[in-house]
Symmetry: C2
Subunit: 356 residues, 2 copies
């Protein structure tokens, strides 16, 4: 049977709770497949940092890089914890993984499942996917400051964009668009202000578009894109955008499609040179940690993305169908309620898969 080495990084806060359910669902979804997941658990995040002072050791990074895939819960300590003041867990752990493992595609689908309430009065058919660049742009960490802490401080941040980096993610986005019924791709940037970075994105999209004549293409400034996300989200099919704009748009997209309790993501290295990493869009939410209050659905849908990525599309569909059925069965205003704890939701989804 096919062996898949899976790194599991539960992380901080609600991370371990939601990952426990995700792993449960993963086993149930693949029990009938000729596949075996070998899990290696990595204790990483604020908790680990507070115990050992490590954010991400080279040894851990090497061990993770040798796996076939990564499942991550959430990382980050209690906001304002003075002991974490000088540890940037986000940059040192999450972004270091994305950059070291060349996760140049950050894939974030937004679907408003039947029965899920949206903050929008008339959301319409919300079903689009954001292809966010993951290894360039303002996220490169290419910043600095002089005269720090004085009245004459200057602090710069450099957004670095390369033809190589933009073209590969744009090609991926065109492939995604071509595989969808609407076959529509929207480039989002701010070309009228960020003329160099924006010009590069615009030219590459135009050039690659010629190879995909069946994909229709349009362009929106990032500010206008936020307007359409709340006034007419069904206009979107596939969005391709840079790292920072993608960060902003995908949180907004999650909000209009039922909240970050449902939003899944994949940090993908399409070359397969490095393991891809799947994680809910939500954070570690330390305030509700350990109380069985977190919705594990986003982590479970991230498992579905992982199964798709691994070619186990039947198992992915089983997970997704069970989640959709579980959501549809939620009562009241459709929101996850304290009447079901985190593991009850996981159990309910497992039951739907195994009762068939």
């Amino acid at each position: 049977s096919r062996q898949i080495k899976l790194a599991v990084i539960p992380g901080d806060g609600i991370g371990p709770e939601v990952v426990a359910e995700a792993v449960k669902v993963l086993s149930a979804a693949t029990v009938a497949d000729d596949v075996e997941f070998a899990l290696t658990w990595f204790s990483l995040g604020a908790t680990r940092f507070l115990e050992t002072g490590d954010v991400l050791t080279d040894a851990d990074l090497g061990a993770i890089a040798a796996q076939d895939a990564i499942l991550l819960g959430a990382v980050g300590g209690v906001p304002g914890d003075p002991r974490l003041a000088n540890a940037n867990i986000e940059r040192g752990l999450l972004l270091r993984l994305r950059f070291s493992l060349d996760h140049y595609v950050n894939l974030r689908p937004s679907v408003l499942f039947p029965g899920v309430p949206s903050p929008l009065a008339a959301p319409g058919n919300v079903d689009f996917v954001v292809v966010r660049e993951g290894t360039e742009g303002p996220y490169v960490g290419n910043g600095g400051a002089i005269r720090q802490g004085t009245a004459h401080e200057v602090a710069n941040e450099v957004s670095v964009n390369t033809a190589f980096g933009v073209e590969r993610v744009v090609r991926f986005a065109f492939e995604v668009a071509q595989g969808r019924p609407a076959k529509h791709l929207t480039l989002v940037h701010k070309t009228n202000v960020l003329v160099f970075a924006g010009g590069l994105w615009q030219r590459i999209v135009t050039a690659v578009a010629a190879e995909y004549p069946d994909v229709s293409v349009d362009y929106l400034h990032v500010d206008a894109a936020t307007i359409f996300l709340v006034t007419n989200p069904s206009r979107f099919d596939v969005i391709v955008t840079d790292n920072l704009f993608g960060d902003i748009l995908t949180d907004l997209a999650a909000a209009i499609s039922g909240g970050i309790g449902l939003a899944a993501s994949g940090n993908i290295n399409p070359d397969g040179r490095f393991p891809s990493m799947f994680e809910p869009v939500h954070g570690s939410a330390p305030d509700i940690a350990g109380k069985q209050l977190a919705d594990p659905t986003a982590a479970i849908l991230s498992v579905a993305l992982m199964l798709d990525h691994l070619g186990l599309t039947d198992a992915a569909a089983r997970v997704r169908d069970a989640v959709v059925a579980d959501i549809a069965a939620r009562t009241g205003n459709g929101a996850f309620t304290a009447s079901r704890g985190t593991s009850e939701v996981g159990d309910a989804i497992v039951t739907r898969m195994t009762d068939k």
Copy 2:
């Protein structure tokens, strides 16, 4: 009587139509005051560029800088017009004015007026103001590219942030917050990723906060801020943020509070060394230009912001009251409809002011 020299820049597309109504309202609002507006009209924008090849001459800039205030409609030609391909009207005109005239505060109130439909199902009480920095950040135009047009292109954009620039806008925001009932200020940035720029903003807000003990302060990452803008906008009172985040958040804020047809803005030089500039947030919308289809309300509310800035607060209140009454009287779903043309709306607002 006090003479106020006003530069009027109608601009392109619907700009001239909405400015005509704004000027009408300005006259009516100040007729009883001992004040006289001397208008100088500047033909600037895509139309002017296509006629003369000028985006903004030094002579025009000098003449504008000598005025007391500026009223601008909207600038920008038809998207994709090949004759404009090498003219960046946004950078060369709008941003050049903001930067040359040191408009370091971009003030953008968001109020959901009674009777205005929001795309949100339960918007609650939307009444906040975004204080967007206007002369720094990723907007400085400090970008460049090497090997442009080749597979080895690298295109960079530098966000420049100074203690001087951040402190002055942060102080302005604290003053705004202190003058409001809720006295609450939210810093929005992305400190966990843009650690240098974010660190500067965070430290300055913390330092200035000590001088405003009655103002409560919190912080949100920009991605989280977009979530709250659609799930709980009433949590916001005053937002202070950088140029690019402010651009994005204010379009989203306009969308949730009735659309960009109602969103006003002021580009302010609080020192008074240069004239401040007032403009609707919307663009030139060439597709509906010249058809009397544009809602002039955003331009008219920008006049109210200008009157406030000039110390003519009674006149500002008259404009705002008339606008609120006009909006409340709109029938149907509350939206501006083709049943009233652009100038009919202006006339209706004038009538409300003069019939008292």
